[in-house]
C-alpha cells in the first residue's frame, strides 16, 4: 500500500475520506475492530483499513444482506464491526438491520457513503435521500451525519467507544473543513458554530457549510443567525435545539435528504413537543432528482447557502 492514510484534514475533503482515516486509526488502536464492505471498499475508503489489516477485513461482494448478517454474527464474538457500502445499498439490507442488529441491540456500525443528491452524476438510483429517516425510525440506533472529514474521522472513534448499533452517513464529494482534527466528537451534542438571536439554522452533513454561507449573507442584512451543526440526528440535542428556539423564535433545518423524516422531521417532533416555533425544512422536496453535477443539483434543488438564506427570510415573515 503506497497510499498514506491522512491523520487529519486541513483542505476540503469528502467525509468518506474522514471515515477511511478514522477506521484506519481505530483499527490500529483497537484490535477488536473489523470491517466489511460490499464491493465498494475503494470508494468507501474501508480499503485503507483493509490493506493494513487484511485478516480483519471481510469483502462480502455485492451482497449487502450477507454483509450485515455477517457483521451481526461477528459482533457476538467480541469483535467490533464496521460495515460499509453506498448509503443507498445499505437500504437493501434494511430489514436485516432492523431484525438482526437493531432489535437485539448488537454492536454493529452501518456506514453509508455517497449519501444524498451530492452523489450527482450517477443519478436518482444512487442518491440516498431517505436513509437517515429509516435508520432514525429504528429503536436502539444512533444516526450521525458528520459535517466534514475531521468530524467523520472523530465520529468513528466516538462510535467505536460504545456498544450498540449506529448509522454513519458520508459524502462522495469534497466539503470544506469546518472542524479541527483534534476536536473530540460527542454523539448527540450539537456544536453552536455561530451564535445568533434572530433565527436558527440547524444543518447536517454537506449543508453545514452552506448554512455558514447563509449566515454571512444574512449578517450583511443585519439578521443574526445561530448556526447549529446537527451532526447527530438520533438522538437530537434537544437542549441545544430548544434553547435556540427560545432564543431566536424561528428555525430552519437543512440536509441533503428528503424533508420527510430525518433532521427536519426530528426537529419538528422535538420542537412540537417542547417549544413550537415557525419552522421551515430545507432539503429534497419529496421527489427523486436526476443525474447532474453535484453543484448543478444543489443549485436546482435549493441546497445552496443562497437558498438557505431565502428560507430564513421566509420563516421570519411567519414569526409573530
Amino acid at each position: 500500500m503506497s497510499h498514506k492514510v491522512p491523520q487529519g484534514f486541513d483542505k476540503p475533503a469528502p467525509t468518506r475520506d474522514g471515515y477511511g482515516a478514522g477506521l484506519f486509526r481505530e483499527g490500529e488502536r483497537d484490535a477488536r475492530v473489523v470491517a466489511l464492505d460490499a464491493d465498494l471498499a475503494e470508494s468507501t475508503r474501508s480499503k485503507w483499513f483493509g490493506d493494513a489489516h487484511p485478516e480483519r477485513f471481510f469483502q462480502m461482494g455485492i451482497a449487502e444482506q450477507d454483509m450485515v448478517l455477517t457483521a451481526a454474527g461477528l459482533s457476538t464474538t467480541g469483535l467490533r464491526p464496521f460495515a460499509s457500502t453506498f448509503a443507498i445499498f445499505t437500504e437493501r439490507a434494511f430489514e436485516i438491520t432492523r431484525n438482526a442488529v437493531a432489535r437485539p441491540n448488537l454492536n454493529v456500525k452501518i456506514v453509508g457513503s455517497h449519501g444524498g443528491i451530492m452523489t450527482g452524476e450517477d443519478g436518482a438510483s444512487a442518491h440516498a435521500i431517505e436513509d437517515v429517516a429509516i435508520y432514525r425510525a429504528l429503536p436502539n440506533f444512533r444516526v450521525v451525519v458528520p459535517a466534514d472529514a475531521n468530524e467523520a474521522m472523530n465520529a468513528v472513534a466516538a462510535l467505536n467507544a460504545f456498544d450498540g448499533p449506529a448509522y454513519l452517513k458520508l459524502t462522495r464529494q469534497k466539503v470544506p473543513v469546518l472542524t479541527e482534527p483534534e476536536a473530540p466528537f460527542r454523539i448527540g451534542a450539537w456544536p453552536v458554530l455561530r451564535d445568533g438571536v434572530d433565527a436558527t439554522l440547524a444543518a447536517c452533513g454537506a449543508l453545514v457549510s452552506e448554512a455558514l454561507v447563509a449566515h454571512d449573507l444574512l449578517k450583511r442584512e443585519g439578521v443574526s443567525v445561530r448556526v447549529l451543526n446537527a451532526h447527530t440526528v438520533k438522538p437530537v440535542d434537544a437542549a441545544t435545539l430548544e434553547r435556540a428556539a427560545r432564543d431566536t423564535g424561528a428555525v430552519v433545518t437543512a440536509e441533503d435528504h428528503t424533508v420527510i423524516g430525518a433532521l427536519g422531521g426530528a426537529v419538528a417532533e422535538t420542537l412540537g413537543d417542547t417549544y413550537p416555533v415557525p419552522l421551515a425544512r430545507v432539503g429534497v422536496q419529496d421527489r427523486y432528482v436526476e443525474s447532474g453535477l453535484p453543484a448543478e443539483l444543489y443549485e436546482k434543488h435549493g441546497l445552496t447557502g443562497k437558498a438557505l438564506a431565502d428560507a430564513v427570510r421566509n420563516v421570519l415573515k411567519r414569526r409573530k
Binding site: V34, Q65, T70, G73, I96, R103, P104
Partner: protein, 287 residues
C-alpha cells in the same frame, strides 16, 4: 432431563427417543396454553434437536454466554417452542417458563430472542441464520477458537435470497467449522414447498454452491447421529457440510403430520386429547 454434557456424550438411543417424545409433548402443551405458536415445524426437528443438544453442543447452562461455546442458530426462529423444550431439558431455564410463552412480562418470546438463556440468535424473520452463523464462525476462527457453529434452516426458508448470498460465503471462506442443517419437512404456510415454489434439485444446488451434502432420515436417531458424526469428521476439510434432514411437519401425531394447518396454530382441547394420547400422555390442561 437430558444429560448435562459439556463435551459430546455417548448417545443412548432410548434416552434420546424418550427426550424427543417429551419435546413433542412440551411443544403441544406450551402452544396450547398460549393459544398460538408453531407446533408443526417444532415437531419435525425433535430428533435433530435432542441429538444435537445431548451429544454435540459444548454449552454450559450455568454460563449461557460462555466465550467459545458451541452455537446453535435456529434460523427458522418461529419453531422456538421446540428449542425452548430442549433448552429447559438441558437446564438453561425452568420448565415453569413454558406457561408464559408469548405472554407479556414473561421470558419465552414468540420467536427466538437472545435474552433467553441458551438462545444464540434473535431470529424470527427468515433467511438470516446462515449469514449470522457465518459471522460467528469467522469471529471464532479469528480468535483461534475451535468453536462449532450449527445453523438450522427450514426448507421453505431457502426460498429467501439472503440464504443463498450466505451459502456462497461459507465455502468461499472455508468455514468448515459451520454445519448447516435443513429441516426438510416439506410444507410451508401456503402448502407443500414443491407446489409453492419447488426447490428441487435441492441437494444439487447446495453442491453447486460448494457444500458437502448428506441426506438422511431426520426422524431416525441412528441416521441423525451418523450424520452429525460425518459433519464433525469434515471439520478441517475446507468444505462446509449441509445436512439435508428428510422430515415431516407435525411428525409424531397422526393427524398433524404433513398438514400445513399445523404450521402456525395451537391445537384445540379436543385435538390435544387425541394428540397427547398418541404421545402417551393425558390432556389435563396443565403444562
Amino acid at each position: 432431563m437430558l444429560p448435562v454434557a459439556l463435551a459430546p456424550a455417548k448417545p443412548n438411543l432410548d434416552e434420546l427417543k424418550e427426550a424427543a417424545r417429551r419435546v413433542r409433548v412440551d411443544v403441544l402443551r406450551m402452544t396450547h396454553k398460549a393459544q398460538s405458536g408453531h407446533p408443526g415445524g417444532s415437531m419435525s426437528m425433535a430428533e435433530l434437536l435432542v441429538a444435537l443438544y445431548a451429544t454435540r453442543l459444548r454449552v454450559d447452562p450455568r454460563d449461557p454466554k460462555k466465550q467459545g461455546r458451541d452455537r446453535f442458530i435456529l434460523s427458522k426462529g418461529h419453531t422456538c417452542p421446540g428449542l425452548y423444550a430442549v433448552l429447559a431439558e438441558r437446564g438453561f431455564f425452568s420448565r415453569e417458563e413454558f406457561k408464559g410463552l408469548r405472554r407479556a412480562g414473561h421470558l419465552l418470546q414468540g420467536h427466538t430472542d437472545h435474552k433467553i438463556p441458551g438462545v444464540d440468535m434473535s431470529a424470527g424473520s427468515l433467511g438470516m441464520g446462515l449469514g449470522f452463523g457465518n459471522g460467528v464462525a469467522l469471529g471464532e476462527r479469528l480468535a483461534g477458537r475451535s468453536t462449532r457453529v450449527w445453523v438450522m434452516l427450514g426448507d421453505g426458508e431457502c426460498q429467501e435470497g439472503s440464504v443463498w448470498e450466505s451459502a456462497m460465503t461459507t465455502p468461499f471462506r472455508k468455514l468448515d467449522n459451520l454445519t448447516c442443517i435443513v429441516d426438510w419437512n416439506q410444507i410451508q404456510i401456503d402448502g407443500f414447498v414443491k407446489d409453492v415454489k419447488d426447490l428441487e434439485p435441492f441437494a444439487d444446488k447446495w453442491r453447486a454452491f460448494g457444500w458437502d451434502v448428506r441426506e438422511f432420515n431426520g426422524h431416525d436417531l441412528k441416521e441423525v447421529l451418523a450424520a452429525y458424526d460425518y459433519a464433525d469428521s469434515r471439520v478441517g476439510s475446507g468444505k462446509p457440510v449441509l445436512l439435508l434432514a428428510k422430515t415431516e411437519k407435525g411428525n409424531g401425531v397422526s393427524f398433524m403430520r404433513l398438514k400445513a394447518d399445523y404450521h402456525g396454530r395451537a391445537l384445540t382441547d379436543d385435538e390435544m386429547k387425541r394428540a397427547l394420547a398418541e404421545l402417551g400422555e393425558e390432556f389435563t390442561g396443565a403444562i
